[in-house]
């Protein structure tokens, strides 16, 4: 077996008295598309928030390519190539596509002490390129994200993650509240990730969506992993039963 790209060892997390994660251990292989399923409160989001640097575990460790890492904030996680795409909150609707693509990582033509002049030409050019790279066709990088459809937004979020060469992409319920057509588009994006060698962790309630694009299924319940099988060796029925 190859070196796992992410290893999670015996992770525990308490939220004001609630034991949300009870010793989760998980290895993710490079290039894998892992589907993480579970009911509300199963601990999926907690696990994802820790992996994306939003929260910190109370016990246990995270290894990236075999080396222990500690994320103080999302920026640390992103710097190491872990990008998270949330159901709603990865884009600012009132800002343009170009600006959204570079939030927090703006190219600067001049800077001092971390503050500087936006290189808007580069932002526009690179965002057009990044969007075209994920086969999304939008007319202008100046359009507001709020004017895009749900599927287009997820496309832009994925384009952003690809542009910054993420190694691991975490997609937190990216298909919620999307139409059937839009969902198909997002699943297409996720399938595209595998072709480009990006490891992905796909979180969803909807088992059909998970089975459509993942090659390994991990089910969580009550803060623990209750099932972990290649997608080919299990079925929607079996997974539903475990949850």
């Amino acid at each position: 077996m190859t070196q796992p790209i992410i290893s999670v060892r015996n992770l525990h997390k308490w939220y004001s008295g609630v034991h949300a994660l009870k010793g989760v251990t998980l290895d993710v292989q490079p290039g894998q598309a892992l589907g993480l399923v579970g009911d509300n409160g199963a601990g999926k989001s907690t696990l994802i928030n820790i992996l994306s640097g939003l929260h910190h575990q109370d016990e246990g460790e995270i290894l990236l390519d075999g080396a222990p890492v500690s994320f103080r904030n999302p920026k640390d996680a992103m710097a190491l190539g872990i990008e998270t795409i949330y159901q709603y909150n990865s884009m600012v609707p009132i800002m343009s596509i170009a600006r959204n693509l570079f939030i927090g990582r703006e190219p600067l033509s001049f800077s001092f002490a971390g503050l500087g002049w936006l290189d808007q030409k580069t932002m526009r050019e690179q965002s057009v390129q990044a969007i075209a790279d994920v086969d999304l066709h939008l007319r202008s990088p100046d359009a507001l994200v709020g004017e895009l459809s749900g599927g287009q937004r997820q496309g832009v979020a994925i384009a952003r993650a690809m542009h910054f060469k993420s190694k691991v992409m975490i997609l937190d319920e990216p298909t919620n509240h999307l139409s059937v057509k839009e969902t198909a588009k997002v699943i297409g994006f996720v399938q595209g990730l595998k072709e480009q060698g990006v490891t992905s962790i796909f979180i969803s309630h909807n088992l059909h969506h998970v089975f459509a694009c993942c090659d390994r299924i991990v089910a969580m319940a009550l803060g623990q992993v209750v099932m972990d099988k290649p997608a080919g060796e299990t079925s929607i029925e079996e997974v539903s039963e475990k949850l």
Binding site: N89, V92, L118
Partner: protein, 328 residues
């Protein structure tokens, strides 16, 4: 063409700008051409930088998604601190620096308390409104410090810069500050963070923006500008009164809102704040010039605030519903 109209309609400062043009025309006609005369413009241009500077700070802060009700009190606290220190024997520049530091500290506390305890800035700054006003009276000892004209280098801030006595240095200071703020918001990464933080905070923090620090920085900028504006007014009048700036906080919010800034954060521009503040001054002055009972001033500002927000929402909706495809 359609795209351009759509973009223009969605500009938040549009409604305010149209109103401004309209009102200037009306006042000019109603005052028999006196409204745009040199003498009258001098009056407007003396007062405008003071209120507009406060409005710009509040605009920036509102774009960042927060609110400052304490600007009126800081407007008085800063010059009072400065005057008391100056009378106490400190050099002017040290006293002025101390006044600005006090303003910055008030802004920092506003921001830190709001974020640390996760309470609405409406509450934090409402408390600060009373505290800073009270401090102003305490440091003054109840008696406004007396400083003779000519003792302070007031000309640097309020002296007339042209021969005709039309434009004061404060106008230049204000323009410089407005340009810096405008550039900061539109052209720098900091501006991008401010807008993202106010526009949708969960996304901003998920993308690694230090939203707390960005907000505190905006609180501080807002407070420093309010203090600086208060100093300019005190130097212009050459009197240091603990009561100046009362009611200014709401005028500043009105200016920002009239200029298209959203109370929910994210939307707005420095130019909008400038237009809003100008509108308020123009109405104040224009009503007098066209011999309307000036007791109607507050009524007009109130009506305008509501009208501008309704008008803006309508224009934006019209703009958004204009169909231009986002797909290629």
């Amino acid at each position: 063409m359609r795209r351009l109209v759509k973009l223009a309609l969605q500009k938040p400062e549009l409604a305010g700008f149209i109103l401004l043009l309209l009102l200037v025309t009306v006042f000019q006609v109603r005052s028999d051409g006196l409204f745009l005369s040199t003498n009258n413009l001098r009056g407007i241009l003396s007062l405008l930088p003071e209120t507009a500077m406060v409005a710009l700070g509040v605009t920036l802060l509102m774009i960042c998604g927060e609110f400052d009700l304490s600007v009126g009190s800081v407007f008085a606290l800063m010059p009072m601190t400065m005057a008391v220190m100056f009378v106490g024997g400190w050099p002017f520049w040290v006293a002025m620096g101390a006044g600005l530091c006090v303003s910055a500290l008030v802004g920092f506390l506003n921001g830190w308390i709001t974020i640390r305890f996760d309470i609405p800035s409406f509450i934090t700054t409402l408390g600060m409104l009373f505290m800073a006003r009270s401090l102003t009276i305490v440091v003054s000892g109840g008696f406004p410090p007396r400083i003779r004209p000519g003792e302070l280098p007031s000309w640097i801030f309020v002296g007339f810069v042209d021969g005709g006595g039309l434009i004061r240095a404060s106008v230049l200071w204000f323009i410089a500050i407005a340009v810096i703020l405008g550039v900061l918001l539109a052209k720098t990464n900091f501006g991008n963070w401010v807008r993202a933080t106010g526009g949708f905070m969960p996304a901003a923090s998920a993308m690694g923006i230090p939203t707390g620090k960005v907000k505190i920085a905006c609180f501080m900028i807002c407070s420093i500008l309010a203090g600086f504006a208060g100093m300019i007014q005190s130097l212009r009048l050459n009197s240091f009164l603990p009561s100046i700036g009362e009611g200014m906080e709401l005028q500043a919010v009105a200016a920002a809102v009239i200029g298209g800034t959203s109370l929910m954060g994210g939307i707005g521009s420095i130019l909008g704040g400038l237009i809003g503040a100008t509108l308020i001054r123009v109405i104040d002055n224009g009503m007098v010039m066209s011999q309307v009972d000036s007791n109607w001033f507050k009524f007009a500002i109130g009506a305008l605030t509501i009208f501008a927000v309704v008008g803006n929402a309508w224009l934006r909706k019209r703009g958004r519903s204009m169909k231009v495809d986002t797909d290629k």
